[in-house]
Symmetry: C2
Subunit: 438 residues, 2 copies
């Protein structure tokens, strides 16, 4: 709109003054909790379900409508909005020196099926609020700013993977809960898979990348802390574990004459839990899926297949947990005469540490605001784990009430979102002031 | 055939002599192993599968063809064959005094999907061999003899349940692996569901019922015994067990902050196994089916549903095991904050003890033949468990090699079948001589 363009010009004029004084950033207002909350609620109308959450799965009609709604908000803030070939939304605010690398920040707005209103949108609304605060203060950064909304985060970090050039061509055929494939869905929401390579971003293109996100765990909430300075995104090891017993009649086979795969699976499940619990550190291990074969109540299971997932910020720790699990499995297999095999699945991901300088900058911004914080890993995957390969990357966590996520019950208070936004703004400003080079 | 009718008349003439001497039974020949084996193999052609077993599920084309084949064998032995309204095949051999109650014996020929050649057919072939031995010896019993082949044993003891009048009308709508419902299938193989009540047999109609069957367990084989004198068919208690945890992100939820339904399910599975193992007695308990919800590798299960089946010859023991399991579940639920609920399913059955007089008669027949034996429960269900309500019932077990059943690998040696047949013949003769009244 021409009205917005007018103000944009005005802001640029003011920002020149900012640079010259070097202290204008102190006049940036604090984030407005009620505005963040209002934007969360407005977006929550798209894909709203009866449980109080959203079904805004990537590529769904709700996702497309939600994106249109957000693009209008971005344009209202006088940003130049474009959609790249991978359907990432990128909204640019020029800097005073557009030869400098853009500072990139953002998150996603797609949800899991039956998801909540905060996983993703919190980071996007914080980014929008940050832009609005800069606009209101009339502050133009030296670096251009780019606000990014990655496409299909929940379905495999599609948008950010495309930026790194690592999205596999096969992935385009994968159909998600929207009923559309990644390829068709990308085009449906404004991308162009014929030109997917154009979405690729060369390492070093951006000055930095910052993602604000809800913690999804319960640490910050339990310890009443405002901010999590994310040390990195944990790596994930994923195995299918197969326990072989001997299927036999559950009525005629006496207890001391069984090779019951289910009993061995139970012993292994407890061993996995104990290993992950007992080792020092923050590793986690989960058995989330299990199936017994043939699966009849009156047949002793001859085979059980279950999943094993191990996560940690360090690959060595993942390896250490797995080695201990494998050793426990060997003992159980021998004791019960039920061979146990592990199949490593290639869907796993490596740990993605954030940039130590970025952590320090976020920590300083938090301290400057007088907010409480801790350093912590991200147990969940995020687009940031792809972005670490492209730019110095940092992540800011805000508390999830009760540690709940991927649920209609996920919640982050407006005040907590506002504090996170303040840290985001001051992180951007510090980077703009050259903090990465200090 | 008229040729057979001629011999039948001749046998009746001879049998009168038998009664008068009271010792003619000594001239009955021993069962012929090769003849039993040949009949097993001939039937095995119907529904034969690539694994070396059979798919002769009740109501399938293979079941119907197999029944036609067996009916021809029965008629060749000069029996009067009829099919009752429940599609049970009943083949009668008149006695010298047809006002006496018939002695009933038999088993079934239908298989489970992917079943073997011995579960069911062994008892039917033994019954046919018994008739043939009597024919060859020219021995006519005082009581009429009736050989029964029950319909759809594997799909819920349908034929014998119909005889007791306890087959529920709803059951007729249940479709089995043949693709036919019990109602349609019964009619397909020669029954008449419009007249199902006519299949009902009043208690006291028969002098006795005897079923020979493979053990399906490994006791006789392990202990190198010839015969199992069956004390009764175990009762079955069946529950669905639901463990409630809290579904949460497997990456962001630390180990000490989980309410993992899968971990509690594993603890309960091991507790069930230990309880059934540790109590004195022959009770068994099995967890054969399990499902975790939502069932994703990266989500801590918020709910696990698993089956619990407990079997014993005494209802009190089933109750005792269940009470111990329930107590263990309470402790696990409290420790892990994962409520555990038990839903009793009405598919269970009560213990069905055999008649003590029948056990003694079978034991005497076994001793007379010089065969080794033991008294034992049947862990599997059999038509005999319905027949206990209609007549003094006995069961004869022959060894299953390796205790394998419901598998293409189930096997009983021809010699073992022959020994079982000898015991069957001499049990019939003893009953015919009034042993039940001694």
């Amino acid at each position: 709109m021409s009205w917005n363009r007018f103000f944009a010009t005005a802001f640029v004029a003011v920002s020149i003054l900012t640079i010259s004084t070097g202290s204008f950033a102190q006049n940036i207002g604090k984030a407005k909790a009620e505005r963040l909350e209002a934007r969360i609620k407005a977006l929550g109308e798209f894909g709203k379900n009866d449980d109080g959450g959203v079904d805004r799965v990537a590529y769904s009609d709700a996702d497309k409508a939600g994106r249109t709604h957000i693009i209008a908000e971005l344009e209202a803030l006088n940003l130049d909005v474009r959609i790249d070939a991978a359907a990432n939304i990128i909204a640019r605010r020029n800097g005073s020196n557009n030869t400098l690398k853009p500072i990139l920040f953002g998150s996603h707005i797609d949800s899991v099926p039956g998801g909540g209103n905060y996983d993703g949108p919190t980071g996007v609304m914080a980014a929008i609020e940050a832009i609005q605060l800069l606009n209101e203060a009339g502050h133009t950064t030296q670096h251009p700013l780019e606000l990014v909304i990655f496409s299909n985060e929940e379905g495999g970090l599609v948008g950010s993977l495309a930026m790194t050039g690592k999205l596999k061509p096969d992935a385009l055929n994968v159909v998600n809960a929207s009923g559309r494939s990644i390829g068709d869905g990308t085009n449906f929401i404004g991308g162009n898979t014929d030109n997917l390579a154009s979405a690729q971003v060369a390492p070093g293109t951006h000055e930095a990348f910052i993602e604000l996100h809800i913690e999804q765990g319960g640490f910050l909430d339990q310890e009443s802390l405002d901010i999590g300075v994310v040390e990195g995104i944990v790596g994930i090891g994923w195995w299918d574990v197969t326990i072989e017993g001997y299927a036999n009649h559950g009525g005629t086979t006496q207890m001391n004459n069984r090779r019951d795969a289910m009993v061995s699976a139970a012993e292994l499940t407890l061993a996995i839990n104990k290993i992950a619990n007992d080792l020092p550190g923050r590793q986690v291990a989960t058995v989330g899926r299990i199936q017994a074969f043939p699966g009849a109540p009156n047949v002793i299971p001859g085979r059980v297949v279950m999943s094993l997932e191990i996560r940690d910020l360090e690959q060595e720790k993942i390896d250490q947990v797995y080695a201990a699990v494998e050793q426990a499995a060997k003992a159980i297999a021998a004791k019960n005469t039920t061979p146990i095999g592990f199949e490593y699945l290639d869907v796993a991901s490596e740990p993605a540490p954030t940039d130590p300088r970025m952590r320090k900058i976020i920590e300083n911004a938090t301290q400057k605001m007088g907010y409480t914080y801790k350093h912590m890993p991200s147990g969940a995957g995020h687009d940031a784990q792809d972005m670490v390969h492209l730019a110095p990357t940092g992540m800011i966590f805000v508390p999830s009430v009760g540690g709940v996520s991927h649920s209609p019950n996920e919640f982050t208070t407006p005040e907590a979102m506002a504090k996170g936004t303040d840290v985001l703004v001051h992180t951007i400003l510090a980077i703009d002031d050259g903090a990465l080079n200090n």
